[in-house]
């Protein structure tokens, strides 16, 4: 977890965008949409761990448990 996380997400995002454009240009729209969704889900999974860590930390610091 670090700055590289953000870069990783950015990389995935750019990758997905590029693939998206490619697939749209070559006429396979459904696959384009599916790639986008797949990319989203992957990024989401990565992020969920970080968000969970965030909420846990907030819970501990502010004694919210």
């Amino acid at each position: 977890m670090g700055v590289d996380l953000i870069f990783r997400i950015a990389a995935i995002g750019i990758l997905v965008t590029v693939l998206n454009q490619l697939l749209i240009r070559s006429g396979r729209e459904e696959q384009a949409m599916m790639t986008t969704l797949a990319g989203l889900i992957v990024v989401l999974l990565i992020i969920v761990r970080e968000i969970a860590a965030l909420f846990d930390t907030v819970k501990t610091i502010f004694r919210l448990n």
Binding site: V3, A10, G13, V16, L44, A53
Partner: protein
């Protein structure tokens, strides 16, 4: 120096979000979330130290722990609610953002009720 790190991360994320926003707004939102979480986790340790020190002062001053904890919880809830609401707003969902904020306020008031009750009790008890 952490602050420089934080500023760096912030600027980089903003740029990335700008790039991604047009083509892929969903990923942009996720990048925003990640950046926010990351920055907060960076300062979490310091924040924790401050809170612990405040708690020690409160204990030494004989303030009932319940009060201090309540105020602390209120702060935490406010922070999280703000976090969520801001992300929604950035993504353009103003309605959901305000709902989250309202929910936060309601929960805070619910938490503050015991304090108000004990204060009223005290006032009535002293009445000659």
């Amino acid at each position: 120096m952490e602050i420089i790190q934080i500023i760096g991360v912030g600027l980089v994320s903003t740029l990335i979000m700008l790039i991604l926003r047009k083509q892929n707004p969903e990923i942009a939102v996720l990048v925003g979330m990640a950046a926010g979480a990351f920055i907060f986790l960076l300062i979490a340790a310091k924040l924790s130290a401050v809170v612990d020190q405040l708690e020690e002062y409160a204990a030494r001053a004989d303030i009932r722990p319940m009060y201090f904890t309540s105020v602390l919880k209120i702060t935490g809830i406010a922070y999280i609610a703000e976090f969520g609401a801001e992300i929604c707003r950035d993504a353009g969902e103003e309605a959901i953002a305000s709902k989250i904020e309202m929910a936060g306020k309601v929960i805070i008031i619910a938490m503050a009720i015991p304090i108000i009750t004990s204060l009223l009790d005290l006032v009535l008890k002293i009445m000659p």
